[in-house]
Symmetry: C2
Subunit: 356 residues, 2 copies
């Protein structure tokens, strides 16, 4: 168990790292961010910032010396960097977990092995795989890169066989995945944590609405009912245990009309759909991650209020003055200098009454 | 109105500054702390730290250049430093307010001028003043330094005339105040804010319990009833307006058995008795201070939950592991390296149900 004053290293410097650093500070723990961008949002709230590339082994070695444990705020940290660090200092979650989470095929395979349903999928490393796969997964289908995609980047919707060849070429022909299209009625997520002692704590599942492939709102309670929510919770518990996981993990689910629940994605970190925990819970997802990786007891995930989280994307952040004037709205801005289309600039949490 | 990315200067580097810096970061505003101690709690969460003495005019000038507005987290900043800064950059609240708040006689005089009751008091600059004053204020009485006292430091209880001479000498003979002892039934405080536009917002008053002259707990609702609470609110509104105040101000009150409400102290800053607002309100006292001094609209001070805040003094902070394991408890540690008797090391907020 880290003592107050000890230091947590964070790989990545975005808004998730920014909020992790503040959660650590609440507990009297220090943070050290590893991130190439000198102006990164997390660097503004952390105690220290190593400005270096993930390939810089000298910087990685110095970072390992300076911290007591390492965690991460985005999963696409190069595997070599994580392996290098893991030889020197505990990394939570570690390289084995990242190898799964970085690869959509490995992720879905794991989910299936854990007894969870997923959309039908086929690994694609040449056009022929995709052509054969289409017969398995049906039309329409989604063709995606296996690695490094997020917020709708690196994916194409396939509505006819004729579109397939061009899409395969556009995405690089290999290391792709073809997924069947799932007629879901809702998307929801479970943000769960597993402590160093194996204890598990799950936040209430929000229902999530996307706009232009980017999360727009997360709402608790989800309104999906206890049966669907419990299926998501059960899968999340199973995945946390199977991976011998330490930290916060987010599992995104599709809910189908017949009550089935399918795993969509697994994120080995705090998640945009859990931001409402900052206002609606006594311990947020960010503090939960800090507690887990620091070897502290997990916090109480109980929710005292209902909440709606709304992202501020691109120019929406320019309305900060009007949002600040709205009673009952908690405004979060991430300290990003430049507003760009599709960029997550901040979010709003609105509490909508005592928890029910 | 400051834009996101602009910088608020904070005079003082303690835990109040630490929580102010985090509140600013939530809004995408930057902070720059002026504080001689390189290891100060606030320096760990602020964007920048000027390590210098308040007498260092070169450092003050550079600080004024680097920030867009200045506020403070403790009232005993030397008046000359505040005046120097105020000639260069807006200081909120400003030198005129500090001159009142730094001096117990001026503070009580202002309260009386605003129509508020206080304990009887007499300014003391020589032994004869104290001897004559004792006939006015009666026994027992409190002899205090006019300036720079806090947490019971710089004060003596006088229970007989014979004790007076030694106490006057011990506290330095001049710049003292002799106060009548007030048989209060409870202490409470009102944390209020006034915006640049003159708008006022008051948090619900907590009832405060002290132990060894240091705040032990603050509890909302206070249980003192609406009549007493409203007297405190009315005085606070009056003081904020009379001082043309910008920022958060805390007024400590005594409640007497007959329903009278007396002003005890005025703090021109966020206050220990308002820490529960971090968990029980959508906008905390810290964010409220940031909003006011940045020229933003004040936040909604409504309370969604009942709460009890308990300070962690000295060695009590060593129990952090047990506190972290308590469901429903929010633990705050201030990043202070050394535990000392009487030192505020952190606090706990416990939510005790939906607001009533």
């Amino acid at each position: 168990m880290l003592r107050p004053g000890q230091t947590i290293g964070i790989l990545g410097g975005g808004q998730l790292g920014r909020m992790l650093a503040m959660a650590a500070a609440r507990l009297g723990l220090r943070t050290h961010v590893f991130e190439p961008d000198p102006e990164a949002p997390a660097a503004q709230t952390a105690n220290a910032h190593m400005i270096a590339a993930y390939e810089d082994q000298g910087a990685l070695a110095a970072f390992a010396e300076a911290v007591d444990v390492v965690t991460l705020e985005f999963e696409n940290v190069p595997a070599a960097a994580v392996a290098f660090l893991e030889a020197r200092v505990p990394v939570r979650p570690g390289a084995a977990v990242l190898a799964v989470a970085q690869d959509r095929v490995a992720e879905k395979t794991l989910a299936a092995q854990a007894g969870a349903q997923t959309a039908p999928f086929v690994a694609v490393d040449r056009l022929e795989d995709a052509q054969a796969g289409l017969k398995v997964v049906g039309l329409p289908a989604m063709l995606k890169t296996r690695r490094a995609g997020y917020d709708g980047k690196g994916q194409r919707k396939i509505t006819s066989e004729a579109e397939l060849a061009a899409a395969v070429t556009a995405l690089g022909t290999k290391d792709l995945i073809l997924e069947g299209f799932v007629p879901f009625i809702a998307e929801f997520s479970v943000i769960g944590a597993r402590g160093l002692d194996g204890a598990i704590a799950l936040f209430d599942p929000p229902v999530n609405v996307h706009r232009n492939h980017i999360l727009d709102t997360s709402t608790v309670p989800s309104g999906l009912g206890p049966a669907i929510e419990e299926k998501g919770r059960a899968v999340t518990r199973l995945l946390l245990d199977r991976l011998n996981y330490v930290g916060v993990m987010a599992v995104e689910f599709f809910a189908l009309a017949d009550g089935a629940v399918l795993v969509n994605e697994i994120a080995p970190r705090v998640h945009n759909s859990g931001h409402w925990t900052l206002e609606a819970c006594i311990v947020s997802q960010f503090e939960q991650q800090i507690r887990a990786v620091a070897g502290w007891p997990l916090g109480d995930p109980a929710r005292h209020s209902n909440a709606v989280m709304t992202n501020l994307i691109g120019a929406e952040a320019e309305h900060y003055a009007a949002i600040a004037a709205e009673p009952g709205a908690a405004l979060h801005l991430y300290g990003k200098k430049e507003i760009r289309a599709g960029r997550k600039m901040g979010h709003i949490t609105r509490l909508t009454g005592p928890a029910r």
